[in-house]
Amino acid sequence: MIERSEVMGQPEPALADHPSASDPTTAPGPTVDPVGQPAPAESPVPGQAVPVGVADELPVNGYPGGVDTVSNAGATPGDLQPYAELGLRDDEYDRIRQILGRRPTQSELAMYSIMWSEHCSYKSSKVHLRQFSEKAPPSDRMLAGIGENAGVIQISEQLAVTFKVESHNHPSFVEPHQGAATGVGGIVRDILAMGARPVAVMDPLRFGAADHPDTARVLPGVVAGIGTYGNSLGLPNIGGEVVFDSCYQGNPLVNALCLGVLPVQRLQNKAAAGAGNVVVLLGAKTGRDGIGGVSVLASATFDDGSEQRRPSVQVGDPFMEKLLIEACLELYDAGLVVGIQDLGGAGLTCALTETAAAAGTGMRVWLERVPLREASMQPHEILASESQERMLLIVSPEKLDAVLRIAEKWGVPASAIGEVTPATPAADGTTAEPGRLLVTWQGHTVVDVPPGSLVDDGPVYARPMREPADLILLQADRAETLPRPATAEALRETLLRMIASPNLCDKTWVTEQYDRYVLGNTVLAQPEDAGIIRIDEQSGLGVAISVDGNGRYTRLDPYNGAKLALAEAYRNVAVTGAKPVAVTDCLNFGSPEDPGVMWQFAEAVRGLADGCAELGIPVTGGNVSFYNQTGAAAIHPTPVVGVLGVLDDVAQRVPMGFARTTGNDHDLIFLLGE
């Protein structure tokens, strides 16, 4: 991958000269594995319960010491591993073995399966998303772009803003309230990780038919979840969408956008630079949240085995997130952070590998130092856990105490769990290879991998694409052929029907559950077409944002549908008086393995990239959500596009609707465009 070589261009030569004791190349970890202990006679069959007493002493899953170690993996190359159940293909599993020169341990297998998933690796979308960078107009405002946690745009000499939209569709169908709530929590941490104070949220939503019984379960839960989380964080909700269409019946879309503000010099990055620096886990304790995906690896960690539920549901704690925000901002302002990364869907696995890969360094992690909610958790569970409200910090050792003090002031747990290790000197002593990620669990080495292999070297697919067979028919069924109301009475009835339709009627029931006033800088919010936030109280500098998408239109014409979404958001921002400067997008589609869906996706991306080039504004970040379907039926392709614009003085904003004039002059009404 291209990005890889760039990241590796910056080793830490000075520190590489002083490999520490924990450098994996010189000292492969203390005590390592119980050598000499025979490999279990029978290879463990994951998924099959092995009754077991005390996890840490007796062989669990048949592994000595309770865990599958690197040396054990080397000694038992023939063990069968449930890679297929974890979503890895045969060739992907072979790649992993090739990279490691042995079979992966349980923990490593869990990590690769997560990082090489569609969700984390963008393996089906990568080849298309490149266009966003390739076609992007040059922008000297962009301080961080695609590849970072969120794009950052400079809006004045001192200030920058960051914004991004992300999906939490599937969790929100399973448990609407918590799914939607943790969706907000996740995007807020992305914004926080850039060094910004989150200052507003928006929520583009799609539900099934308004009168379907399941909508009565999903919609109130989603809205309450977004409300509870956003309100509790003190983030004004300044806009979003509520769209009903039966194609979303079994797969609602819950997208969340967050806006943040930072002084330019407070910009953070995720690189775990500087060997010897300390890796700190900040925030909530780690529990068995969202480890459903890797549960196939752990059949014997519960005493009574098999039937124990593995919740794939994460429960959010907005209070902890609020404290996390305040603690992080204080840490940034005190200059105590070298690198920072939020823990999102892929938990520690993603944060450890991404921060190390971004710096080309290695990392040494003592997993038993991770504070746990449940003591019986296994290493692969700790690595895969999606527990919310956590951040990973890289701090220099002499500042560790100050960091812990600020964490304590805000009541946020913080633990040093590891340290950054140098890049590996090459054999000839000149160039350096990236370091390795070495994770131990109570003295056993459970992970020893090149971090970049999880982050950047994942599979990339150019999946087959084919225009859906029914598209011609759909396109032939033109609006012009529909009967038009011919009489006044018919016109009246059409109008009434339209006004009464769920997609057009008042959304106050939803929006009044959101706090729009908190922070005192909301200049425009619902029902305006764009939200406006004042950023600088002195100068009146502010930003306008709108998020829009039209699945029906995109179904008929994905290329122009994406452009339409962009144009709508762009217009909505422009008419407030703001100058549009940046784009974020959430691409909600069906299964990429369906050539018809893949075609829709490719067309939509091409349309969005072309549209951005024509309008002269860059995509700064976003998110892809695939597999939005029920059985074989995909949702309408639904690219949701957010546009951000800048106002030099928010007092000059133009609100929607006609202004009440005080004098006796009448306003003139003009229609612009064709």
Binding site: G287, D289, P311, V315, F319, G411
Partner: protein, 87 residues
């Protein structure tokens, strides 16, 4: 009158921010010997006739508990039963 009581608690592995907040507040009150607090819901159902456990179980399952994150238990009590009541 006898009634049915349904206790709904978060599954043990699910985060309980409420309980945690209370546990963290206890030292303020000078209480230091509490190791964990979990907070759930207690629902009292009164029937027009005889308390109907099966009916109550059905209600709990469909309406009172969220099976994705919660467990429930169910029993019949007399008002003023064995529980020690606050004066």
């Amino acid at each position: 009158m006898p009634r049915v009581v349904v206790d709904v608690m978060l599954k043990p592995e699910i985060l309980d921010p409420q309980g945690q907040a209370v546990a963290n507040a206890l030292p303020r009150l000078g209480v230091t010997d509490v190791s964990s607090v979990r907070i759930g819901r207690r629902i009292e159902i009164e029937f027009t006739g005889q308390p109907d456990l099966d009916r109550a179980r059905e209600i709990a399952d469909k309406l009172l508990a969220n099976p994705v994150i919660e467990d429930f238990s169910i029993r019949v009590t007399e008002a003023g039963d064995a529980e020690e009541s606050h004066p």
